[in-house]
Symmetry: C2
Subunit: 126 residues, 2 copies
DNA sequence: ATTGAAAATAGTAATAATTACTATTTTGAA
DNA sequence: TTCAAAATAGTAATTATTACTATTTTCAAT
């Protein structure tokens, strides 16, 4: 994989925020620094970076994928009103995969938990 | 809400299987009995039925929504190779919502867990 | 039974996120 | 310096789902 400034900018932006941006947000933000970058390039690089393990791709049930610069295993919460995504600092349930593996008699690779919440901002009016 | 034969057929099919069909599968299967039904009608009725609580809509991260005739709270496993979806008979973690509510200081409505697995069929060749 | 407005339908068009394609430019090892 | 592999910008295609529209069906009140 060759160097590219665009990829560096994409990674830098996602690593710099805790907001779990969508591809489009990454595109808009990186464009503020590099007005030439194209949306396709952002998508391609987000994909490459997450396959490399440098980013986490969170495939959200409600549509848009989100990206996370914090790559250790952890859970997420999504506000059902504003769609903001938050990290959940809960100990990872390592053993539950084994329990399910026995029950289903199959190989369990991992699990994801999404908490559906109403975030503090939305709770108090918006 | 008025009666409709199409809605009855959609509900009947989803209730009759354990496969967590997609809207398109429901469409194809119901069409075997009623060759007139349209895809839009299937989507509309799946939506109505799940909003009524007669079906469960499982918003899958990988794209297509799945529908489940078994409406109690439970978890799901998806095969990362063939995309088949299975029910997971694990006790529902009722207390974890409260823990997260305290951590995030917000209202937690529910949570979903998806186990990423390799199903027995795929494990043994396909 | 008849009527008529609300609800539902079939069929098609529109939307939205993402991926694929293509001609051009950039990268980096030889 | 060269040149093939990799990456890019910009656009087109894809895919699941929702929206729209003219027609048909349902059902409560006559």
């Amino acid at each position: 994989m060759n160097y590219s400034r665009q990829r560096e900018q994409v990674l830098e932006y996602v690593k710099s925020v805790k907001t779990h941006p969508t591809a489009e947000t990454v595109y808009n933000k990186v464009r503020e620094k590099n007005s030439n970058i194209s949306l396709g390039t952002v998508y391609r690089n987000l994909d490459k970076l997450s396959k490399e393990g440098k980013l986490l791709r969170i495939k959200m049930a409600n549509g848009k994928d989100r990206f996370d610069g914090y790559t250790s295993k952890h859970y997420h919460a999504i506000c059902t009103r504003c769609d903001r995504v938050f990290d959940v600092s809960l100990d990872y349930f390592n053993n539950v995969d084994k329990v399910v593996a026995k029950k289903l008699n199959c190989n369990v690779l991992s699990h994801d938990i999404i908490f559906n919440i109403i975030c503090p901002d939305c709770e108090r009016g918006f």
